[in-house]
């Protein structure tokens, strides 16, 4: 088993908000393996930013233990803590670059406290800028760059002291989809080439889907569900997780559109509106045509989407099944037997049929 480079135990963070005591993080355990890309998903206010700030103690926990790289951070003296922080890079939603320094100056900043000479610092910073593809812009100032470029500079800065861990706090949330993808790809590349452990917090499951191996879903200061990415995407247990996945895979909006469309609210006795989730092998079988051949049930596809998660393929489909009632029942049983999750949509309560 790989070692846990991040090991947070029973972390609680409380804030005083006027008279009220607010628990931003409640008794959370978080373990991240070395070399992993770990996503933490939640809506704003879920406590994910507070939780990741415990990793480098920008946020002191009210209770709990913080072990990073086998060091108990809470036991360190201030000077030792600052040394430990040089090994934990961090990038932010709004980049947080210094506008008074050039691009090169910003990347050199974390090196100012090291023993490197001026020319060594410049050399190191230039290398890093090359790594993120911005060495041409090194004498420009941050305001001359686009959002994506600023985030690349911030990544170079975060890597200056060869950290083991990179914390990404909503780093792509202020960027457009295309730039987001390029930043995520850069992070993935850094993970592979440098063995960097990445903790990525976001409110977009889409970002997690791209690069994370593990994911935790946070709500009201607690991790409500966690697991590896295929498992979470294929069999989400909590409603919130489902919600995030539906948004990421576009299934949510599609279901809404279909169920709100009047023509699908008045289906005949012989029709059934269903949502199918395929996992792994079942995506490779000609299931829909089997329904027609074997059960005399026609499938009219209204929506379909296939997501590739690492090795695993996930398929999502909304379709209207037309046929004799008993045949439809048989067909649905057949689908379930083939590891397809089936959700009946035209029942009043839209309740999921348990497999």
């Amino acid at each position: 088993m790989t070692e846990n480079i991040i090991d947070l135990k029973k972390i609680t963070v409380e804030f005083k908000d006027g008279e009220n005591q607010v628990q931003a993080v409640k008794n959370v355990d978080l373990q991240v393996e070395k070399g992993d890309i770990y996503g933490i998903v939640g809506y704003s206010g879920a406590g994910k930013s507070t939780l990741v700030r415990v990793i480098n103690l920008l946020q002191k926990p009210t209770a709990g233990e913080v072990h990073i790289n086998k060091q108990d951070l809470l036991q360190l003296k201030p000077v030792e803590l600052r040394q430990a922080r040089t090994k934990i890079g961090m990038i932010f939603q709004h980049f947080n670059l210094m506008k008074s320094r050039t691009i090169l100056g910003n990347v050199e900043y974390p090196l100012l406290k090291t023993k490197l000479s001026k020319s060594e610092r410049t050399k190191r910073a230039t290398e890093l800028l090359k790594l993120v593809g911005l060495e041409q812009r090194k004498n420009d100032y941050p305001r001359q760059l686009s959002g994506g470029q600023k985030q690349r500079v911030a990544i170079a800065r975060a890597l200056a002291n060869n950290p083991d861990i990179l914390i990404s706090d909503e780093a792509t949330s202020a960027l457009d989809p295309k730039t987001t993808l390029s930043i995520l790809n850069l992070l993935k590349q850094l993970n592979e080439t440098l063995g960097l452990t990445i903790v990525l917090i976001t409110h977009e499951m889409q970002a997690v889907k791209e690069i994370c191996n593990h994911v935790a879903v946070m709500q009201k200061g607690e991790i409500v569900e966690r697991g590896d990415i295929e498992e979470i995407f294929s069999t989400p247990k909590k409603k919130l997780t489902q919600e995030f996945i539906n948004i990421a895979t576009n299934v949510g909006p599609a279901v809404e559109k279909v169920t709100e469309n009047p023509s699908f609210q008045q289906l005949t006795q012989k029709q059934q509106l269903v949502q199918l989730n395929f996992i792994g092998q079942s995506t490779e079988q000609p299931i829909i045509s089997t329904l027609a051949k074997q059960f005399d049930v026609d499938g009219n596809i209204l929506f379909a989407n296939v997501e590739q998660l690492h090795e695993e393929t996930l398929g999502f489909m909304i379709l209207v099944l037309t046929g004799e009632n008993q045949n439809i029942t048989k067909a649905i049983q057949f689908l379930k037997d083939n590891q397809v999750r089936v959700k009946l949509l035209n029942k009043v309560d839209k309740k999921e049929v348990q497999a």
């Binding site: 480098n56 920008l58 201030p78 000077v79 600052r82 040394q83 430990a84 922080r85 040089t86 934990i88 890079g89 961090m90 932010f92 709004h94 947080n96 670059l97 210094m98 506008k99 008074s100 320094r101 900043y109 974390p110 100012l112 406290k113 100032y141 941050p142 305001r143 911030a154 800065r157 975060a158 200056a160 002291n161 914390i167």
Partner: protein
Amino acid sequence: MASWFPNVIHMQSEFAQATWETVYMTLVSAIIAGVLGLATGIFLIASQPGGILEDSFIYGLLDKIVNLLRSIPFIILLAVIAPFTRYLVGTTIGTTAALVPLIIGIFPFYARQIQNALTEIDPGVIEAAQASGSSPTEIIFRVYLREGLPDIIRASILTIISLIGLTTMAGAIGSGGLGDIAISIGYARFENDVTIVAMLIILIMVFIVQFAGDWLAKRLEH
């Protein structure tokens, strides 16, 4: 000339002397109050709630001192601290004696200006520096003072201009300088031209400071 400025024309050396005295009082008190005010402003920022060296006691204390000193009208401050001035300098008359009330009068103002200027700095930038392992001292010198430099310069211009104003008020208690001439000669003897010329010289000083400061602040902004 003689008909427009009947008195000034005979007072050229006095005016040169007074101008120098005003420049001297402004410069010396600006330097000393500048250091004091900058330090106080930085301590205010660092010790404030959520600051890099959060300390509610120090913050509360400095905040109250600054507020208190800023509330005392300068003309009354001049009189109130006269014994202290005599204790420090040996006299209450002349430019050097005027430095004491000038410094005490202006540094809280400057400290507040510095605090405001540094408050403008994005807390995210400070957080990024902390995350990279910077110590509070490093953050003060490498982030606050550097990122805030254009605003610090603007605050300094404003302070120096106020200070020039205060030096003329110190003229009321015999500090010397252009304020002294304007009051004790121009006003007291109804020699209006003296007052007007003193004012013009002060206006020129203010313009120079404003112009040089704006230029510098603009140059440093990226």
